[in-house]
Amino acid sequence: MNDPRAAAPAHAQGDPAQEVVLRCEGLGRAYEDGDRRVRVLEGVELALAPGEKIAVVGASGSGKSTLLNLLGGLDRPSAGRVLLCGADLATLPERKLCELRNRQLGFVYQFHHLLPEFDARENVAMPLLIRGTARREALARAAQVLERVGLAQRLDHRPSQLSGGERQRVAIARALVGEPACVLMDEPTGNLDPASAAQVLELIDELGALRAAFVVVTHDPAIAARMHRTLELREGRLEPRA
């Protein structure tokens, strides 16, 4: 296993626009609370190169989840803009935005959000099925990815028949199956016991070789240490951490 820090892409900084997977410019998000305006994010700048893996840390309530939602186009910013693969999320029509999200993004949440009615394979195949891939092919590719995350023996298991760590690995497989340009993770180990967390951690390590860029929100220093760089959200701004 190579050290991901050593494999940091050479073009990580100051590269031309087309080499940036995800960029935000002057990104701000404020919530109206009665007549009070709570600014959660203010002037967030970020540029992510292909294959670059960053950790985002910050105190609880600092706006980490809010940032991920904006990056994924699930929420609309009150200022600034997000560019995913060169496309401004705010100006895309809904259909295009959904398609972009489906093809270029993977999500992993603190809770696995697997659908209880379906087995692991069908859960993983979900993004492909939503995309319109033929069922047979989607299930075959899901099986491949599940194999890669070490769950070849669990294809037909329902979420209720899997351990916490296994569920989270299925969720990661689901985020990767569509070969997205960028994977957004929100505390992927936050809900796991130490042993399961270690499994997931190992998996994230193994995925270091992937072309996909990663934004991992985490409280876990062990995960942060495995990323190319760590940024901290403080008072609405994203700053490099010493």
């Binding site: 989840s65 939602n69 994924g72 699930l74 929420d75 809904e94 259909r95 959904c98 398609e99 999200r101 489906n102 093809r103 993004l105 999500f107 949440y109 809770f111 959000h113 659908l115 209880p116 009615e117 379906f118 979900m126 993004p127 099925l129 939503i130 995309r131 319109g132 033929a134 069922r135 689901r174």
Partner: protein
């Protein structure tokens, strides 16, 4: 919609499989509603069929005179009717009925109805022969000891032998079988006393053979066919006058089979409208049941909706998914309802004198209605589902 059609149905099916009880409860209304609809259509189709076969067998201009007591009708009057209305009457025939024990050799099937007929009878009632011939004018004049048997009676009398040419005993007399009727598949209306309904189990003999000789033998029924329905009105008036004039001799009833059927069908129509109303209510209740279930579904699956949106599902995809879930359950209920409707139509036709007929068209209508219920009552919950905010729903857990 980018979702391939099939995929949506797979998801919908899996969903309901895991919630079978819930599905069953919410779909009962649709089952009974569609069942009622199919039953209404089967009753309507049966009435039409009944009318068609009655018209086919009797024609629309047929009137039957029935003697309420012995001697009210006789052969002389039959001749007079023909003579009085030559331009209106196309055909007429007189019938006498008797009951007798019938038997042949070893087999004694029991009592059967004897029908004394003339040579006109077979063509007036559209009887079809399987083999042999029908009663001829010669038979009537000479009181020949011959008979024609209904298909079922023939089989009862001679289970393993050819029927034609055999000798049948009725009461204390004998006759030779000269004709066998074909199986009577079309069920004719049961009009009291009109001997067309159960031709399968009748024994036809020359009328003179069973009632005795002379020119004025008593008849139980005279059937008159006017040349067409347009003449029916005028013909009926004349007939009634003739009947009135001879009232002293006994009561005579005038039956117009088509009218009797229309009367019966008018009654059925009232039933149909009532049932249709109930069906409508049941469908609305059923649809509301599905809608209620779907609303609960939307509430309890907010996280799933958010997740699907995060994975790239559009609002239209979410709508398609929830509408198809409602459609799957509505159609499943509809199919059960079609079966229920067909069975109850069969049962109704069995226990009553109503003719019912389940047709593919009724099934298709039931299917279409259940589909419509699914779409109509699934739309609102589906719109609610599409309006779920992915950000909030994902972080609600």
């Amino acid at each position: 919609m980018r979702l391939p059609e099939l995929q949506v149905w797979v998801w919908a099916w899996k969903l309901w499989r895991t919630r079978a009880t819930q599905a069953l409860l919410s779909v009962l209304g649709v089952v009974s509603g569609v069942g009622g609809l199919v039953l209404v259509l089967a009753v309507g189709a049966g009435a039409q069929q009944e009318m068609r076969s009655a018209l086919g067998a009797l024609g629309s201009g047929t009137v039957i005179l029935q003697a309420d007591n012995h001697g009210a009708l006789d052969a002389a009057r039959l001749a007079r009717i023909g003579a009085l209305l030559p331009e209106l009457v196309e055909q007429s025939t007189g019938v006498a009925y008797r009951q007798a024990e019938v038997g042949a050799g070893e087999s004694h099937p029991g009592r059967a109805r004897l029908v004394g007929v003339d040579s006109q009878y077979a063509s007036m009632f559209s009887l079809r022969l399987h083999s042999g011939r029908f009663v001829t004018p010669y038979d009537v004049v000479h009181r020949s000891p011959v008979c024609v048997v209904g298909a079922r009676l023939g089989r009862a009398l001679f289970p393993r032998r050819q029927v034609l040419g055999q000798v049948v005993q009725y009461g204390a007399s004998w006759c030779r079988v000269v004709g066998v009727l074909a199986d009577n598949r079309t069920r004719l209306p049961d009009l009291e006393g009109v001997g067309v309904s159960a031709s399968d189990y009748l024994l036809y003999l020359p009328v003179t053979t069973i009632v005795g000789s002379g020119s004025a033998y008593a008849l139980d029924e005279i059937t008159v066919r006017f040349s067409d329905e347009a003449h029916l009105g005028a013909g009926l008036d004349s007939l009634r006058r003739i009947v009135e004039r001879q009232r002293a001799e006994g009561e005579i009833r005038v039956v117009v089979p088509v009218e009797v059927l229309r009367q019966k069908h008018r009654l059925q129509q009232v039933f149909q409208y009532l049932l249709l109303g109930a069906t409508f209510v049941l469908l609305v209740v059923g649809g509301t049941g599905i809608m209620n279930n779907m609303m609960l579904n939307v509430l309890s699956r907010r996280a799933e909706i958010g997740l699907r949106r995060a994975l790239g599902a559009t609002r239209a995809d979410i709508i398609a998914q929830f509408v198809s879930e409602a459609m799957v359950i509505a159609v499943a209920g509809g199919l059960a309802g079609i079966i229920l409707g067909a069975l109850s139509a069969m049962l109704l036709g069995w226990v009553s004198d109503w003719q019912t007929q389940f047709s593919l068209a009724a099934g298709a209508a039931g299917f279409a209605v259940s589909l419509l219920v699914g779409i109509v009552f699934g739309s609102y919950p589906a719109l609610q589902a599409a309006a779920v905010s992915p950000v909030r729903s994902l972080h609600e857990l």
